[in-house]
């Protein structure tokens, strides 16, 4: 009669938190062991690091309530057993970490540039941004405005790049390097695949040469040898020389990444574009590159993150980027020995930027559905 069995709830062990735990952490004995081991490490480590970085740490005042002005006043120097991080070194030198030695009365120019950078970049990144078209017009003129704002000119007092430092230098190098290397990389990638032997050979030579030497070598090249090639009497700014080196380096890597994307586009796409009468540039700009760049996104972001971190190498040629300012702080006799705090802070700042970049890349990949049924669909 009633042969329909009544619906039963699924076993407790497969639903809810318990089910999740069983599925993900304890599905067999090897995974269980690994999970227990990892949890043990986390329990050991996380409370300690939270305590050191936050709960037991000094920010502006030590445990006696005095404002910290040197290393001797840090709680962890007064009481090595209980004191946590002494963030006062970061607090006191925050200006230097952000702007280097930029004159204080002119610092609004840097702040304005930071804000304008956000206004220029955010609409570029999200295509559903309101009034995006109008914002993008601003994005194109932003580099020019930022150049005059930071450097001076047009009635603003000139600020020599020797006074730039900290995050400012890191961002200028990172943003300019990435922004200039992208179009250069596309041209080099197209050039390398060109049917014209001279162009293809020149691009290949350039890419292989740049990829064949370490970034440090290029930085030295920019710093020491570039001035030799310039006419006498023209001294090129140190930061500009480093920028040239960084951009060349990055464009070679970018070219190879994009060439990888170009190679993944089926021949049929080229032929189809040709058959409807598109010219070489029309074919590339309207048909091939949009697809090629789409599948290259993970690698493009990867090399960009790499470059952003590689900018710390500029300390070798005497530019004080974020890390360089940190090391300068450690060389001040007032703060000797607070290396953990400085390196922790610098890595945190780098992490924020690189993590944002990698999350954005994930978002793009999801939105554009890269890698699924490319080309032929």
């Amino acid at each position: 009669m009633n042969d329909i069995t009544e619906t039963r709830k699924p076993p407790v062990a497969t639903t809810g938190i318990l089910g999740w735990l069983r599925m993900n952490l304890f599905s067999n004995w090897v995974n269980s062991l690994i999970s227990i081991f990892v949890l043990y490490i986390l329990f050991q480590f996380v409370p300690w690091i939270l305590n050191w970085t936050i709960f037991a740490a000094d920010f502006k005042y030590n445990f006696n309530g005095e404002e910290i002005i040197n290393r001797e006043m840090c709680s962890r120097v007064l009481d090595p057993e209980n004191g946590g991080a002494c963030w006062a070194i970061i607090y006191v030198r925050f200006y230097q970490f952000m702007y280097g030695f930029y004159p204080r009365e002119e610092v609004w120019r840097v702040n304005l540039s930071y804000i304008m950078l956000a206004v220029a970049v955010v609409p570029l990144l999200f295509d559903n941004f309101p009034f995006r078209k109008h914002f993008l017009k601003f994005t194109y003129v932003f580099p020019v405005i930022a150049f005059f704002l930071l450097n001076g000119g047009l009635g603003l007092e000139s600020v020599s790049t020797n006074k730039w430092g900290g995050l400012l230098v890191t961002l200028v190098l990172g943003c300019t390097g990435i922004a200039l290397a992208f179009p250069l990389g596309i041209i080099l990638a197209l050039g390398r695949r060109s049917n014209l032997p001279v162009i293809s050979m020149m691009c290949t030579l350039f890419i292989e040469f740049i990829r064949g030497v370490p970034l440090i070598t290029l930085l030295f090249f920019g710093m020491v040898m570039l001035p030799l090639f310039l006419p006498e009497g023209i001294d090129m700014d140190g930061l500009a020389r480093v920028l040239v080196a960084v951009t060349l380096f990055q464009s070679a890597y970018m070219a190879e990444v994009i060439r990888g994307g170009l190679q993944a586009i089926p021949q049929g796409q080229y032929e189809a574009a040709r058959s409807i009468g598109l010219s070489y540039w029309q074919m590339n700009l309207k048909v091939v590159l949009p697809q090629a760049i789409r599948i290259s996104i993970p690698s493009i972001v990867n090399t960009s993150i790499g470059l952003f971190k590689d900018t710390t190498l500029v300390i070798i040629v005497g530019l004080l980027d974020l890390l360089g300012i940190g090391r300068g702080a450690l060389a001040d006799t007032t703060w000797l020995g607070l290396a953990y705090e400085v390196y922790f802070f610098v890595s945190l700042v780098f992490f924020i930027f690189t993590f944002a970049m990698s999350r954005y890349s994930l978002y793009l990949e999801k939105k554009l559905k890269t890698g699924i049924n490319m080309g032929a669909d």
């Binding site: 000119g153 001294d235 702080a329 060389a331 000797l336």
Partner: protein
């Protein structure tokens, strides 16, 4: 990134750039001085972003000599590798960058060391619990040593001369040496004595560490300029000498005004009350007075930056005046 306009302007006037360095500096309106990217006691930015240290004071002294204003200097940071090309290319007017005066640098690289503002030398640091009071007792010790440096060669020489053995723990950077010593992975850390002092100052408990008395190498550190511009070399040389002579004569930033009516002839010459030494150098008559007034004499600069009252606690030692057991000696001011 440099303003295009000024590049054009500079290229138009390029032919005018062959004048002496002193004129270049005067025309530019400030001195460009090459310093380290940060070395405790010698040159490092303080909390307000001002460069401070023995070498930074050297730069300021020259700026004061030329302009009478200690702020008329732009510090260009250089590394051990970039310092010489930076000076050679004219990007800086002088280097005060903790640079050892050697024959090859003086002769072959085409630079002129104008004097010595710090006599350094390689030393040893040990935990005081080791119970050793002389480096000759270090037989069989594990030594942290930076590879590829002259200190490595000096170390080998020293141990061979004394007929004792050691085990080397190669390291790359000063920080690495510091960590290894503090962690007890080596018994001894050896580098320049000033570097040892800053390492010791950075320790959690400086009292637990000992710098041994032996100094096994000569490292005279001094400011340098390009070969061939003797007028400019003289300005830098005598800016340094003025500070040393001021200490010798007991002239300090505190009493310099009172000393102007001193009855010691050399003091009067130094402060520009008598003679025309400023004119000879093409500087203001009171250039040395201004250096002492705004920077202080050598002793004041030493005490403020590296002396026993600073965390570095470097005793005067060799850097004391020749009259006080050191070898600091400036030619007479006449």
């Amino acid at each position: 990134m440099k303003k295009l306009l000024s590049i054009f302007a500079v290229s138009v006037f390029a032919f005018a750039a062959n004048a002496g360095t002193l004129d270049d500096v005067k025309n530019r309106g400030f001195l460009k001085c090459g310093v380290t990217t940060g070395l405790a006691g010698f040159a490092a930015p303080d909390d307000s972003g001002e460069w401070a240290g023995l070498d930074a004071d050297m730069c300021r002294a020259v700026a004061v000599a030329v302009f009478g204003d200690r702020s008329k200097v732009e510090f260009i940071t250089t590394t051990g590798k970039s310092r010489f090309p930076t000076l050679a290319s004219g990007e800086v007017d002088m280097l005060a960058r903790n640079t050892t005066w050697t024959i090859s640098r003086d002769v072959n690289l085409g630079f002129e060391f104008v004097g010595v503002n710090f006599y350094d030398g390689q030393g040893f640091m040990i935990p005081s619990s080791l119970g050793v009071s002389s480096a000759t007792e270090l037989d069989g010790a594990t030594v942290c040593i930076q590879t590829g440096t002259t200190t490595e060669l000096n170390l080998a020489d020293f141990f061979r001369l004394n007929g004792i053995s050691y085990e080397a723990l190669p390291i790359e950077t000063n920080d690495e040496g510091k960590e290894n010593l503090f962690a007890g992975r080596c018994d001894v850390y050896t580098t320049d004595a000033s570097g040892l002092s800053s390492t010791r100052a950075a320790a959690a408990d400086p009292g637990k560490w000992l710098v041994l008395p032996e100094i096994i190498s000569k490292e005279p550190l001094g400011p340098l300029v390009r070969h061939g511009d003797h007028q400019w070399g003289d300005v830098v040389r005598w800016s340094l000498n003025a500070m040393i002579i001021a200490e010798e004569l007991g002239v300090t930033s505190e009493n310099v005004d009172a000393q102007k009516s001193s009855n010691v002839p050399e003091v009067l010459r130094l402060l520009g009350v008598e003679g025309s030494y400023g004119e000879m150098l093409e500087l203001a008559p009171d250039w040395a007075y201004q250096i002492i007034k705004q920077i202080g004499n050598y002793s004041e600069s030493y005490e403020a930056n590296v002396g026993p009252d600073t965390p570095l606690e470097i005793a005067r030692g060799l850097n004391a005046l020749w009259t006080q057991g050191g070898i600091l000696y400036a030619p007479p001011f006449r």
